[in-house]
């Protein structure tokens, strides 16, 4: 069989993904898709898996591939969420009415896309402002400074009355599963391609040995900031999608614990593995839902709710992962590489493996 050119392959794959997302999205409607429906609860879970995949893969670019330990990702998510929400609250209605001729779906999608773009750009700028000074620091100091910046961002947003301040912010619900799925796929593809490009090689070289990378002529500061800005902008995309799906924003959604949750995703999956980050995002989203099924325990006058154990279990998983398998489930390997091992036997690959 003649080998297909790679662009044909990606085109076919892209069409399959969009059709699949469209079908799942249609299943989430009230009538379902040809009578087959997904209930609201499962639909919500799928959406949050999508958002968490964007957050985890983008943080993985910074922490996993570049080796710069940031624990302030929720801050950039907040920047994206609030800036995009401000745009759609202020201009959404008027853009929709001026585009009413094109149909509701097109009009709301245009607003959503502009809002996401704004969220991404503003979050990227925030990433640049935070990244340039902080990335001079290393290791645990960098971690604590990113945490500090994220908290400052949150407190600043809390004090802006135009976006609701402490009372919260109502946002029009333009985002649906289709858009979130599409952006999750785009994020994964973009970050995958960055990692496979020569930029990605430079990033990994910084992770492996910053001094050696610098000695080999890699402009480490530039690459570190680049990866930080790209990661932040995708966190902004995730924030924008979250804002327009959840329809309500409160700064409490972006506390330390959110950043830690994203860290848990990539640590469980394996820092430096794309599929690991995706797997981690799925586990972290689904695990609390499994716990919800456990009954409450009544001891004397107090009730112990096992659903509250969510974070206790995450914490235990985190500690045990570090003690028993510090590289996470997949380490820096990808799920696909396990299958490749079997394929290689009968199909010789051309050229040298980089």
């Amino acid at each position: 069989m003649k080998k297909m050119p790679s662009w044909v392959k990606s085109l076919i794959l892209g069409i399959i993904v969009i059709v699949a997302l469209y079908i799942v999205n249609a299943m989430m409607s009230a009538t379902g898709f040809f009578g087959v429906g997904v209930d609201d609860y499962q639909a919500r879970l799928l959406v949050f898996i999508g958002i968490n995949i964007i957050l985890a893969t983008s943080l993985n670019l910074i922490n996993g591939f570049t080796g710069q330990f940031s624990i302030g990702h929720a801050g950039f998510m907040a920047v994206g969420a609030y800036s995009s929400a401000y745009f759609s609250v202020t201009y959404g209605r008027s853009i929709e009415t001026s585009l009413a001729g094109l149909g509701d779906f097109v009009a709301s999608s245009v607003v959503l896309l502009i809002a996401i773009a704004i969220g991404a750009v503003v979050a990227a700028m925030a990433g640049l402002i935070v990244g340039i000074p902080s990335l001079r620091l290393k290791g645990d100091y960098l971690a604590i400074v990113t945490l500090g910046f994220a908290e400052i961002i949150r407190i600043v947003i809390l004090n802006i009355d135009a976006v609701g301040g402490a009372t919260g912010y109502q946002v029009p619900g333009y985002a649906n599963f289709l858009w979130i799925g599409v952006f999750a796929v785009i994020t994964v593809l973009v970050i995958h391609n960055i990692v496979k490009s020569d930029t990605g090689r430079a990033l990994v070289s910084i992770r492996e040995d910053e001094l050696a990378a610098e000695a080999m002529g890699v402009n480490t500061t530039r690459y570190k900031v680049t990866s930080f800005v790209i990661g932040s902008s995708f966190a902004g995309v995730a924030g924008a999608l979250f804002a327009h799906y959840n329809k309500f924003l409160s700064t409490n959604d972006f506390q330390f614990i959110k950043s830690f949750e994203i860290i848990i995703m990539i640590v469980i999956g394996g820092m430096g593995s794309m599929t690991g980050a995706i797997l981690g995002a799925i586990i972290v989203t689904l695990l609390p839902e499994l716990l919800r099924g456990l009954p409450d325990l009544q001891v004397g006058a107090t009730t112990f709710r096992f659903a509250d154990l969510r974070l206790v279990i995450f914490a235990l998983i985190l500690i045990l992962t570090m003690i028993l398998r510090p590289q996470g489930i997949l380490g820096t390997a990808e799920i696909g590489s396990f299958f490749k091992r079997f394929r290689r036997a009968d199909k010789p690959t051309g050229g040298m493996k980089a």
């Binding site: 902080s134 290791g139 500090g148 910046f149 407190i155 330390f256 830690f260 509250d308 570090m322």
Partner: protein, 305 residues
């Protein structure tokens, strides 16, 4: 002027608590180069341990110095034991791995303590009983100082003197200084480094627990997540003073406490609303790390290749 004195007294009160917690951060960092994220939660554990002791032994009903002393020492002992257990079961197994691994373990430990306490005690705040009679004493003008504030000053200064004695006048303190100077050489000289590290955790945790009980006398509301913000600010205090440096931790704690209350009191004159109270510490942290990473009293250490 009176309000300034008042703000300063309040600031130094909180600052002394930060200083007590910062000492634990700085000692552990000095020895293991580890930011013990769970340290702020030990402060919370101390407050809860004190709460359990005071309510179960009935000290709440009749305030007495003895009741306070037993509560304080009991909470310090419990927290010290928990600190040692954390070191033994979570940090020691990962000590051989990279710094990031230990940092993630510490984050996990912090989450574990916080949400285990939420699970056991529920997230609703409890009211810590008043163990000593509390009254306000008017200083000059309108500034007042409460007896619980005096208590915080007296107890924290006493604990710092004890700590200074342990570190500079005892054999154990000498071993701690040796381990923090160079852990491998210390081991070669026959020091049981594992024991020294465990002792350091116990000491730091006991100081944090004392901070927890003292805070609860000043501000009786205790809840399982109270250690997050206080812990981070105490860490900032340790960095500000120069991490690994003991007088630095105390100085940093007092400065952070004062800066915080002054922003609440006077920030509005320069356009900083009092809601920025929690941001002050982080802003200080960022400035210190960017301008003088070694801290106020720390010395610059050249990175070896």
């Amino acid at each position: 002027m009176d309000t300034f004195v008042q703000q300063l007294i309040n600031g130094l009160t909180i600052g002394s608590i930060y200083a007590l917690i910062a000492l634990g951060y700085t000692m552990v960092y000095g020895i293991l180069r580890l930011i013990n994220f769970a340290h702020g939660d030990i402060y919370m554990v101390g407050a809860y341990a004190g709460f359990m002791i005071a309510t179960s032994l009935g000290f709440a009903a009749n305030p007495s110095a003895l009741g306070f002393g037993v509560t304080l020492l009991g909470a310090m002992a419990i927290a010290g034991a928990i600190g040692m257990a954390i070191e033994r079961f979570a940090y020691r197994p990962v000590r051989k791995y990279s710094k990031m691994t230990t940092l993630i373990t510490a984050i996990g430990m912090s989450l574990l303590i916080e949400y285990l306490f939420v699970f056991i005690f529920s997230g609703t705040p409890r009211s810590f009983p008043q163990l000593l009679p509390n009254e306000n004493i008017t200083l000059f003008g309108n500034a007042t100082i409460s007896t619980s504030q005096i208590l915080i000053f007296v107890v924290s200064i006493a604990l710092m003197v004890v700590l200074q004695y342990i570190i500079f006048r005892t054999k154990m303190g000498k071993a701690m200084r040796a381990v923090s100077f160079n852990i491998t050489s210390a081991k070669l000289m026959g020091i049981n480094t594992d024991f020294v590290i465990a002792f350091t955790f116990a000491l730091g945790s006991a100081l944090a627990a004392a901070g927890g009980v003292l805070t609860a006398q000043y501000n009786p509301k205790i809840e399982p997540l109270m250690g997050i913000m206080t812990g981070l600010k105490a860490f900032v205090a340790a960095v500000l003073g120069g991490i690994g440096n003991i007088p630095g931790a105390v100085l940093g704690g007092l400065l952070i406490g004062a800066a915080e209350t002054l922003v609440v009191g006077y920030g509005s004159y320069v356009g900083i609303p009092s809601t920025y109270r929690d941001a002050v510490a982080f802003a200080i942290l960022i400035l210190v790390l960017l301008l003088r990473p070694a801290g106020l009293l720390g010395s610059n250490v050249q990175e070896k290749v």
